[in-house]
């Protein structure tokens, strides 16, 4: 199994934060939502975003609590913290700048 590259890792964090910004949910739900929204384009293996989730929790950008889910079982629910919200904004801005820069280069017309 290969580790996600740095670029993908950074972006992955941002995506996770965004998903959690919408509503708190458990790990499985996050992965399902990601697949769903990206239309299966973003192939992130399940095994690689648990470490990311834990890292984000360690950094203090998301926090977790154990709640009883709709199935009546205990599950760990993640939600965004104020710090995380702030960082999400920053990461989104960075990503916007990066992607528009890349687009500009790609759109250069051949002479």
């Amino acid at each position: 199994m290969s580790k996600p590259s740095d670029l993908v890792q950074g972006t992955l964090d941002m995506l996770l934060l965004k998903i959690l910004a919408l509503e708190p949910m458990n790990g499985f739900a996050v992965s399902q939502r990601l697949k769903q929204v990206s239309g299966d384009v973003l192939q992130v293996s399940d095994g690689s975003f648990y470490p990311s989730l834990h890292k984000l929790e360690q950094e203090g950008w998301i926090t977790a609590e154990w709640k009883t889910s709709e199935y009546g079982r205990r599950a760990k629910y993640y939600s965004l913290t104020r710090l995380g919200r702030r960082n999400l904004g920053k990461e989104a801005d960075k990503w916007g700048r990066l992607s528009s820069a890349i687009s500009r280069v790609i759109k250069l017309k051949e002479a």
């Binding site: 399940d46 648990y50 470490p51 990311s52 079982r73 599950a75 760990k76």
Partner: protein, 903 residues
Amino acid sequence: MRPEHWLFTVPLRVRSLFRRAQADQALDDELRDHLELAAAEYVAKGITQAEAHRRARIDLDGIEQTKEECRDARRVNWIRDFVQDLHFGLRTLRKSPGFAVVVVVTLALGIGANTAIFSLINALRMRALPVQKPDELVLISPANDRNGSLGFSYPLYEAIRDENRTLAGVFVRAGGAMNVSVNGQAELAPNGGEYVSGSYFSALGIEAVAGRTFTVADDTVPGQNPVAVISYDYWKRRFALSPSAVGEKIYLNGYPFAVIGVTPPRFFGIEVGHSADITVPMTMYPQLNPGSTELSNPGSWWLAAMARLRPGVSAEQATADLSAIFEHYVEARGLPTGLRTEGLRIKLEPGAWGLSPRSKAARFAILLMTLVGLVLLIACTNVANLLLARGAARQKEIAVRLSIGAGRSRLIRQLITESLLLALLGGAAGFLLASWGTQGLLKLVPEEVSLDLSPDARVFVFAAGISFLAGVLFGLTPAFRATRISLVQGLQGGVRQGQTQSSPNRLRNGLVVSQVMLSMVLLFMAGLFTHSLQELLGVDLGFRPEHVLVLSVDPTLIGYEGSRLVSLYKDLLQHARAVPGVMAASLSRNGLVTRGVWYNSVSVPGYVPGPGEVMGSTFNPVGASFFQTAGIPILLGRDFSEQDNETVPKVAIVNATFAHHFFGEQNGVQKALGQTIGLGVDQNLGQFQIVGVVRDSKQRRLDEPPVRVVYFPFLQSELPPSLIGHMTLEVRTASEPAAMTNAIRLELLAVEKNLPIYGVKTLTQQVAESLTGERMFAWLASIFGLLALLLASVGLYGVIAYSTVRRTAEIGVRMALGAHRRDVMAMVLREALRLTAIGVVIGLALAPAVGRAVSSMLYGVNSTDPLTILVASLLMFVPAALAGFLPARRASKVDPMVALRYE
């Protein structure tokens, strides 16, 4: 990370650390939940339960690894890993106890030796005096380039004491022998006495453990304060820690004193290695040394001075302040006599370590530290080799662990932890070894030196530090090597027999060669110093030490002075000569090969001194037939006789160097005879006619250059008790002098029953004792050299044995093809000798540089002494031969059929 971010995350991380079991469980639960949910999804899509679970598992891509990465994300792993590694390491070591024991013993030897020597250096130079705030103390001395540091005169001390503005306390100190009488029982204080100023204890910040110490009030008027403070050790020995000691009346040199206090156990004064038994105020000096004028004599600069700086005052400010006082003083009272005094100025040095021990001892200590460091290096190399071999043996285990996903760095960390564990065990054992070893060291040190070699925090930190360094040093390379294997090879059962993995071989061989080289260097140095010692022992003393007993007497301690003193000496000599078995007896002020000599000025008619030359010579007042007793050959003229007393004209005898210097190289001896010289320009002892010239003899040390000496009869000069109060009797006996000790002592005591007699030994013993330092060093260097030899041999054996085992198949083939056992043995031996030879050659190449570095400490030995080189090389080859012989024999006994089958 920004600060507030830190504040937020740190509690999280700390919590992770402490609740890891909980966190682990939570992680398990979370992932399990995910699996269930994912499986449920698949089932919903119509896949069977079993298949659904399988797919969910695959999707999760390696649970354990995921878990590991999650844990990694918590980033507190390394502590947990470390503890885990320690557990694992302990288990592994328990499984191979032989290996562990060998390594721990090897390390214990190396680390122990280093710690022992460090304790020595710690006690000598690094440990500050056990006083309050030693960093504030300074040594004050008038110094110039010619003489180095001088002492203070008492009037100078008074001037500094009264006029300084930068010192919080200043004191002077002198040592001296004291005769102590308690309840009628008299003895010479074994560790001597001390005279100190009243401010001594307050400046050092020392409080008494019983009674009180004396203060400035006890040091005001000379002769008015007969109070004494005793050392804790003396209190234990003489008074058995009895509280009644305080207030006890004792007699010092016959004068009544009262004991008023005891100093703390660890306090020993300001001179490292010396712990005086009794301390009295300086103003009582004249009472204990009748007839002395030292306290009021501005020309006698004999005191050591120390002070505590006032808070906030720098050394420069104090120096300026004291220099002004000094200049003022010199203008008023004059300079020391008989010495070069140009450029004399006040010098301040850090006093935290007390009076500095001689620099020669310091140089020896540094050299010892180097030697012992090399021994440790060799020990570490041995351990590294062992670890490399073990790493090769563990390849299957390592391969398995790598293949199931352990990170290489993780494994390396674990192997290094194992090494550190070994190092720690070795260090602990070494520390214990050092504690015993230093006791042994103390036995080699002369009696008068008292050092506290008990380990303190600094020694402990040192031992821990070098253990850690050693662990990293010998653990790093094997750890990297062991994990750098191809998985397939490893899983197939380790390195196969007959496969030569050349790089580990080269590394191990290289290590062994370096061991041999280091041993060569150590053996060479040991050889140099041993040879130097031999040379010193064979030096021409100029006198005959066999069959001579020496005894020191100090009648002034019981009140003798003036003419009574002189007659006492005459009586003592008469009685000594009357003892049956005594061939001759005499006495002298300067002993033979002792440290204290008296130097004074002479005037010689017709001799014009060169520019800046000091007309001086060593003076030695002696008794009749001194030269006959000491066995010093008379070149011309005669010995002193009983007739040379105060009624006849004064006579003197000079040595050959004196004669040659003042009367010319050619025929100096002949020309000297009959000349009249003036002795002692200040004391003006008078004019003496030279009636004899004798051969040069060693005065103070065996390795000194020739010096000028003038001898004259002690009866013919009115010398104060300070100069002849303490004399050495020399008695030449027909048979073994040691056997006559009691007879002679009894005879002397018959003259004066309270006579303080000490330092009784044969002259041969005394000469041997003057070489204690050199002997101790040669001993230690030899021990370390042999230790290095042992370690290198063991290392060599290990490498040869290992390579032989791996070549078993090759040997089998050779023998099957017709090689004899002899050939196989020769092959193995050649290998051993080859490695040794390379090491020896490199070591020899380094030898000249090493020899040059220590040449200043050698006597009579070339820095490239061929004998030493030869012996060292031969010594090195002997264990090499042995190291090669045993595996060679085993190899030759190999049955070719077995060897070929054993793949």
